[in-house]
């Protein structure tokens, strides 16, 4: 029986592996997710036959409540709130690992001395699980704007965090030796605090990277739990998630051309830099503005128009209007394309998801590599609430924090219309030469309003 259950766990782990493999290719992603879910179902059912399980009511109650809550979350969440949703779910996963380890700790209190390896893994499991829990909740709060999205900094921040981390490790060492439950609760408290304090100094826009990292942690927490209860199913799955989360984090950092250390400790997007770089340059130099009327004429008589959406599109929720405008232009014979930068917006694939929601056809979306050679032949590029991803400083200014990031070369097109509300900088907090380019005209205002005006004008032409 035990052997059979273990075999089934192995089967579940194989499902997870194959599921993850499929998840990393667009065509097979959906079936991959289903395969992984199937593996989970099988593992859960098999566990019901585990001989260690004596009573079912608590389990069944837990499963029903958890499933209901999870399903409600998943059903009601808006597409644009996906990143914070993932953060929240991740927090629950980490919390569960910590709780399992806690229960195990309590149980072992009664009997004989806990073997040292179990003691260590229990503590690690609690530590990682609790950090994941509170860290994920903060990430959720930042993205949901319950907590400030800015990077919160204060003096001696790093020193404080390092001290906290050291004392947690010290507590674990102490616990391993003594096995007393009181400092155990302290450990939980400190671990939760550590999670909060390490995520607080990170800017809201870096949250996807943080979530990916915390996701990796929650995998490792699950693996640790596996060590605690000697279950290789948990270990495999946990390690899988741990490793793939790390890789994903690295891939995301690369796409932004920043190091993980810079993301975690760089306090990117803190108020300080933003103010310094922003208005200073803005006041001094002349920019050209354009009226909605003129802009619409420009668009209507162009041969090729490229829309370059960015974070502002998401803020303004302008995805439907942009589609409407595109339809109008296409009816007039204008070739319309969308240029999708890999880190436009605030989560990976942000623009794809938004535009997909507005039913923009898939074949109109172009990757950076595909669209960059096209700008030469583009009459008008319309930058809709994008900033950093079209900042030429990434090519020209070695001092810029953006330097080295591949960007969309909109400045190669004949005209550029930039829609934003002000001269404020974007996520990286730096000014943008593009706005002062002789070919650039600014159309100030909320992106949705501006686009609506354009659409009305084009209709009347």
């Amino acid at each position: 029986m035990i052997a059979l259950i273990k075999l089934i766990y192995l089967g579940a782990a194989v499902c997870f592996i194959l599921g993850l493999k499929r998840l990393s290719h667009p065509a097979t992603a959906r079936s991959g997710n289903m395969l992984a879910a199937l593996g989970m179902l099988v593992a859960i059912v098999a566990t019901l036959f585990d001989q260690e399980i004596l009573t079912f009511p608590v389990i069944i109650a837990g499963i029903v409540v958890g499933s209901a809550v999870g399903a409600t979350f998943a059903r009601t969440v808006k597409m644009t709130a996906m990143p914070q949703m993932v953060a929240l779910l991740n927090g629950f996963g980490g919390g569960a690992s910590a709780l399992v380890a806690g229960a195990e700790f309590l149980r072992l209190q009664g009997g004989v001395a806990t073997p040292i390896n179990i003691a260590i893994t229990i503590q690690l499991s609690v530590l990682i699980g609790s950090v994941t829990f509170s860290g994920s909740l903060i990430a959720f709060g930042k993205l949901q704007e319950l907590v400030t999205g800015r990077a919160v900094t204060y003096p001696l921040q790093k020193t404080l965090n390092a001290l906290l981390f050291a004392s947690v490790l010290g507590l674990i060492a102490w616990l391993v030796v003594s096995g007393q439950p009181v400092p155990f609760i302290v450990l939980v408290g400190l671990a939760l605090l550590l999670g909060v304090l390490s995520v607080i100094p990170i800017g809201g826009a870096d949250m996807p990277v943080v979530i990916s990292l915390l996701n990796s942690y929650s995998g490792i927490a699950a693996a640790m739990t596996g060590f605690v209860i000697s279950n290789s199913g948990l270990i495999i799955s946990g390690a899988l998630v741990g490793a793939s989360g790390l890789i994903l984090t690295r891939i995301m950092c690369k796409a932004m051309n920043r190091s993980l250390a810079n993301v975690l400790f760089g306090a990117f997007g803190s108020g300080a830099t933003e103010v310094a770089a922003g208005p200073a340059g803005a006041l001094e130099r002349p920019i050209k503005q354009i009226s909605a009327e003129d802009a619409s004429t420009l668009l209507a008589f162009a041969r090729q128009v490229v829309f370059v959406p960015g974070y502002g599109l998401a803020v303004a929720q302008a995805q439907h209007v942009v589609r409407e405008l595109a339809d109008l232009l296409e009816k007039r014979g204008v070739e319309v394309k969308y240029a999708i930068h890999p880190v436009a917006g605030r989560m990976p694939g942000h623009m794809n998801v938004l535009l997909a929601e507005a039913d923009v056809p898939y074949d109109k979306l172009f990757d950076m590599d595909q669209i960059n050679p096209e700008f030469d032949r583009t009459d008008v590029s319309v930058v809709i609430g994008a900033n950093d991803v079209v900042n030429p400083a990434a090519r020209n200014t070695p001092e810029s924090p953006l330097y080295g990031m591949p960007i969309l070369d909109v400045d190669n097109s004949h005209h550029i219309i930039v829609m934003k509300r002000s001269m404020r900088p974007g996520f990286a907090g730096v000014g943008n030469e593009l706005f002062y380019d002789s070919k650039t005209t600014m159309l100030f205002g909320d992106a949705k309003d501006s686009l609506k005006k354009l659409a009305t004008e084009v209709k009347e032409l």
């Binding site: 959906r30 879910a37 399980i53 958890g66 996906m82 690992s97 793939s244 995301m252 942000h350």
Partner: protein, 97 residues
């Protein structure tokens, strides 16, 4: 005991390798669904939660067990469903291509 730990460590290391190898060169478009999908997989801790909750422990441990099951289940069900919702969105677009 320690020997058993090493056996488990072997499994852990191998699984890490598999994880590393499997996730390479994912297109940025898939980062978010991949993140939430693998996040759902980390809900495998539900197994541990079930074992702890079903052991018929004393009061505090039982409450912890119940909470663990709830938390893990939220992660699992929410995770897979959210991922599917996201992927369905991509899918639809592809067919209309």
């Amino acid at each position: 005991m320690i020997e058993g730990l090493v056996e488990l460590l072997v499994v852990f290391v191998l699984a890490m390798f598999v994880g590393f190898e499997v996730i390479t060169k994912v297109p940025p478009t898939l980062h978010t669904p991949l993140m939430s999908g693998s996040n759902a997989i980390s809900g495998i801790t539900i197994i541990g939660a079930m074992i702890v909750a079903g052991r018929g422990d004393a009061r505090v441990a039982a409450i912890l067990g119940f909470l663990a099951v709830v938390f893990a289940m939220i992660n699992v069900v929410g995770g897979f469903m959210v991922t599917d919702r996201m992927l369905r969105m991509f899918k639809r677009k592809k067919e209309s291509e």
